[in-house]
Subunit: 360 residues, 2 copies
């Protein structure tokens, strides 16, 4: 294989599995008790500095690594935080994972990742797994069809919902999707569109609906009604977005003058379909996509985008969960919904939206 010879030589097969160094070993080797070793290692002031030094030095010399499992059991301490999400390829969750790993890591916690793929069965297993791992807290983006068992398993530790809610906890961090889609729809309405299609997700309990609500509300506000024929709700995959866009935009005659997309995955598929169909954007149809404004800005034309504040959301949820696991309870954030935060999305207006061509 071509790259073979350039790679560093692999390490020799690990030494023949010598038993890991334990506190008892250190204690025996230094002629002190395990209690003293434990105290020294944990920085207890009750041990003479001189002895403590000796113990700590010897521990590092011997390559001692404390067994967190045993420590956790003995001290009834919790050092893990669960992260329960459908899909870590989704930018919202990967950024949250990064941020939480950093902030919680600095506080001595480690993230346990549970990826459910929005499958209720796996979600349940994951929830039980996390609960069994004695996590200090859980960040969860529950699926639409979460089971009762799962809900029960998630009942105990301090959990905070993220990006979606199933009413699991009084704490949560979300994007204010409804407001975002009110704004996006208004933008189209103001340009003169009256035949607007919405392509969204079937995501039943959470933000999928908030977005549709926003579209509806903005229509109502303008004295219009969103035509049910113009609403497509599908599972949020790129392929579905691609297919739906082909359907919606394929037939020139039956085309809406504007298309709102309510999911980041769908958006990618729509962008691809628009390119394939070579439909004039925005002359023939205006397009608003959702999610990460980065790639959509590189498209031709650059796509007007509902830009979700991924980083802010991540920051806020990390702070929130950190507060919960360290201090026990977080101070209430607002009067009516303590602990729930709704972050605003920004509408990034680019070249994919414009006035509709006059109907002939």
């Amino acid at each position: 294989m071509s790259a073979t010879k350039r790679s560093p030589a692999p390490a020799a097969p690990a030494a023949p599995a010598e038993r890991a160094v334990r506190v008892a070993d250190l204690a025996a080797e230094l002629n002190v008790s395990t209690a003293t070793v434990s105290r020294a290692l944990n920085g207890s002031p009750a041990v003479r500095p001189q002895i403590a030094r000796r113990i700590i030095d010897h521990a590092r010399l011997r390559g001692y690594v404390p067994n967190r499992i045993a420590r956790s059991l003995a001290a009834r301490s919790k050092t893990f935080v669960g992260f329960l999400v459908p899909d870590v390829q989704n930018l919202a969750y990967s950024i949250a994972a990064t941020t939480c790993a950093r902030l919680l890591g600095a506080a001595g916690y480690q993230l346990i990742l549970a990826i459910t793929g929005d499958d209720p069965r796996r979600e349940h297993e994951a929830a039980v797994g996390l609960a069994g791992a004695q996590v200090a807290g859980i960040i969860a983006a529950p699926s639409a069809d979460i089971t009762e068992d799962c809900r029960a398993a998630l009942a105990h530790p301090s959990v905070v919902e993220f990006n979606r809610t199933a009413g699991l906890a009084p704490y949560g961090v979300f994007c204010d999707d409804r407001a975002a889609f009110v704004e996006a729809t208004r933008h189209l309405l103001d340009l003169g569109h009256t035949d607007i299609a919405y392509l969204g997700t079937t995501d039943a309990v959470s933000n999928g609906l908030w977005r549709l609500d926003g579209v509806r509300d903005a229509h109502a506000e303008a004295g219009l009604a969103l035509d049910p024929e113009r609403v497509r709700l599908v599972a949020p995959t790129e392929e579905n977005g691609h297919a739906a866009a082909h359907e919606l935009l394929g037939a020139r005659a039956a085309r809406p003058t504007a298309l709102l997309v309510g999911s980041s995955n769908l958006s990618v598929g729509v962008a691809r379909a628009v390119r394939e169909l070579a439909v004039g954007v925005p002359e023939e149809v205006s397009v608003v996509v959702y999610g990460d404004p980065k790639w959509s800005g590189l498209c031709d034309p650059a796509l007007t985008t509902v830009a979700v504040p991924y980083r802010e959301m991540a920051q806020v949820v990390a702070d929130l969960v950190l507060g919960l696991v360290t201090e026990g309870q977080e101070d209430a954030a607002g009067p009516d919904e303590p602990g729930r935060r709704w972050l605003p999305a920004a509408l990034v207006v680019r070249s994919s939206t414009g006035p509709p061509r006059p109907r002939g």
Copy 2:
């Protein structure tokens, strides 16, 4: 807040922290010994089916969740697998995380995520943290400047390197970047380019260099030398890619006729710069980017891309680590480098590469 009233009501504050149900509780309630309960719950054949049923039913009724920490300690079993990566926003790692979480999860393991940001200090802490958590195995993408301490902490469990190597283990899964860049460079050479620039990463121990090697080798193969002036090595951030592309392509006179980009993050920055500079692609300069072919296909023009086989890599590493943690040792994969797999990248030729304009 606008979306407030539409969200499901948060759950009532969790019940006043009743003690979790333990094996001993179940045993007492059913007038059997803890041993019998434990056996029943673990499906031991040594317990009468009738009793087993009763115990299992009662356990689920009481909402018993086994304490994995204690179980792990008592049975000396390991139920975690560590996942040590620089950055989970990178598609290579997020896909690997997804796949590993699924496959390992199905086998009863749970991923512990350690994100280092390529900071040696955090990397070391993470390695110790994982080792202390008694992981069954570790998937690691070591940083270029991994410390000796970290190396030592990573010595024991069955570790497999992913995407990058620091010679930590005899097992690993990588993209054959060198071959990929030989192919990409040949593609440009065949088109007639002789003034090719390479924008890559400073990533010292691993694939950053393999890519540059590929570019060099392909040049050598054609009897050409890669001009050192045409090589830019920077840290792989989008901003750096953006800045470097502005530098390289800004001055029309001093422009190379083709640009190879050797990092997915840099590629995004380059794409943005190209768009800003309004430089003719491929008439004035051909561009080859690296990484995910999805977004680069939506650019204008669609970018020729070294498409990394993220999914295959993820699949292979998941299988590999699963084999290691369950069976102990994996069968050797190849004659010379047992356990190391190099997966080929595909060159997706699109519209951003063409023959150079004749020099005047």
